[in-house]
Amino acid sequence: MSAAPATGQVPDAAGHFGRFGGRFVPEALVAALDELDAAYRKAMGDEDFLAEFDALLRDYAGTPSLLYEARRFSARVGARILLKREDLNHTGAHKVRNVLGQALLTKRMGKRRVIAETGAGQHGVATATAAALFDLECVVYMGQVDTERQALNVARMRMLGATVVPVTTGSRTLKDAMNEAMRDWVANVEDTHYLIGTAAGPHPFPEMVRDFVRGIGEEARRQCLDLTGALPDAVAACVGGGSNALGIFHAFVPDAGVRLYGFEAGGEGVGTGRHAASITGGSSGVLHGTRTYVLQDADGQTIESHSISAGLDYPGVGPEHAWLHDTGRATYLPVDDADAMAAFELLCRTEGVIPAIESAHALAGARAIAPRLAEELGREPVIVVNLSGRGDKDVHTAGAYFGILDKE
């Protein structure tokens, strides 16, 4: 990752991305957020920190990840598809970049305990991994519904030495796990860092998480220039909370000719109400410490989200995405479960790569926009797709979806 300052004018010093972002938190957390903000700013200007982070990313996480030209998939989609292979990172997703950055900061702040929320368990596993590496106590909050459907990841976290706490309040899914982690943090803020898993939450989390994962786009931009001699026509990523998308978008934001597409989880279809598309199907509100697009009713009560992808199954989105949407710099479109699973299958069969179902939304999105882009450009478009994670964790879900599991 480069030490260059982040491009653009956002967020402001108080964490506002236009009308979004900010801090909507109990006063009890403000001192800890200020401490974190100061530590993060100091670290980003500290050569030692950046060198340590770079070394970890290279030697431990296995980055830079490859930019792979998926020729057989491309032929079926009608675009030249370049896959940013974040699925090959240690722990199987882009998330390792964020947890390594935050774990390093935790050490620098002198804290000895990390807590995290997790939906599918990927961020929980990544946090437990970093906690093992840095010798930190680790507690992961996970909705009880998710601990049941992701039993393998629960076992992984425990193997790595973490305590997994099933959350039995509310809808017993990711948003409730996040509530419970916030409650833990309010009570234990003195020795505990809340290692938020996405570019959401109160300032400075959205900006800080973005900066820890922005290497994805910096690498991809350089790799695409090396490979094709030009910038891509479009960059595509899936958007739940939105860290993988911001990670790959950020370096391209100043490149006006590069279209940025974020694909939200359309679930059973945005029209059915059973989806997780906060930007396409939600409205501006306050959730989990930030102002952003939220799935909510007229009274501001959060509406439960739905997606076949546990990692996208969240009723909010990072505030920078809300801002990129409002400014028109990025385009957000829903991809429903069926289209995502069709793209999942296509990548398996054409490239021998099993993607995370989250990332399959980006693949399906690229497939959907390819004909339009080709028509607009009058040639085959070049699309960089963030393959943000691998599908090992999804084998059971996908097997059941395709009806290929033997009867037990």
Binding site: A14, G22, R23, F24, V25, P26, E27, A28, V30, A31, A32, T169, G170, K175, D176, N179, M182, R183, V186, A187, N188, V189, E190, G285, V286, L287, H288, G289, V294, Q296, A298, D299, G300, Q301, T302
Partner: protein
């Protein structure tokens, strides 16, 4: 001018602290919550804190979470909470509303302030709105003459204590412990320190809440604070009761015990 000031003036004239009792609107039903709040007033609670149930209450512990869930499952709306405020204010008690910010933002900040004032409410306690983000609420509360209670915490710096109390009107809410709502066996050692730090920067009345649930604890807190705020212990009376009558009986008993506590402060 502060709307809730009358409650503090009256208690001060009696030489005692104000007793604030919290109950979620619509728990277990809208009518049931009104009956519970009226029982609290009759048994000696000075100020009723009407909590608007919210789907993601990050400052609340298990008891109030459960009560909020029950209220929401029963279909309670923000408009119902205003109806509760109106019914309880009609008894002559002071009523303050405690609410997470998103329901107010969706109702419309100015519209809510207008309707809250019309219902006879005194103002809002905002657990997840800090003055830094409150420009719209500052304007709306000024326009409609409502009080503003922001929270301060043992972790707040002196600069933030000063900044926060400058934006409060009516009283400031000092959270006694680092944590969420819920009765605790021990009273806080951090609370008296926080209150004395506040005394150095403000004359505004100080209410202390979080973890207060017995008459003895109320007496302890009344020894150094201007208001004693009790939530979960009161909510539990209703939550644990086999029927409404038993719930109201338990609520009256605890309210009377707490009212006795604030009248016999431990100095």
């Amino acid at each position: 001018m502060s709307r809730i000031g009358v409650a503090f003036d009256k208690a001060r004239a009696d030489g005692r602290a104000v007793l604030v009792g919290c109950m979620p609107a619509g728990f277990p039903t809208v009518e049931g919550s009104i009956a519970a709040m009226k029982a609290m007033v009759e048994a000696g609670v000075d100020v009723i804190e009407v909590e608007i149930p919210y789907s993601d209450p990050v400052m609340d512990g298990p008891v109030i979470q459960k009560a909020s869930d029950i209220a929401l499952a029963g279909g309670v709306r923000v408009a119902d909470a205003l109806r509760v405020v109106e019914a309880v204010a009609a008894t002559g008690a002071s009523v303050v509303t405690m609410t997470y910010w998103n329901p107010i933002e969706q109702y419309g900040v100015d519209a809510f302030a207008r309707d809250m004032a019309a219902a006879g409410g005194t103002g809002l306690i905002t657990p997840d709105l800090i003055p830094d983000e409150a420009a719209e609420w500052l304007a709306a509360s000024d326009a409609h003459g409502l009080d503003r209670t922001f929270l301060v915490s043992p972790s707040s710096t002196d600069a933030r204590l000063r900044m926060t109390v400058e934006h409060c009107r009516g009283f400031v809410y000092a959270t006694a412990i680092m944590g969420v709502t819920g009765a605790r066996a021990q009273t806080s050692e951090a609370a008296p320190v926080l209150v004395s730090r506040l005394r150095e920067v403000t004359d505004i009345p100080v209410g202390v809440g979080l973890g207060v649930g017995t008459g003895a604890q109320a007496a302890t807190v009344a020894g150094y604070a201007d208001a004693v705020i009790v939530g979960s212990a009161l909510v539990r009376c209703v939550l644990d009761a086999p029927d409404q009558a038993a719930g109201l009986t338990a609520l009256r008993k605890l309210s009377a015990e707490l009212a006795d506590g604030v009248r016999n402060p431990a100095r």
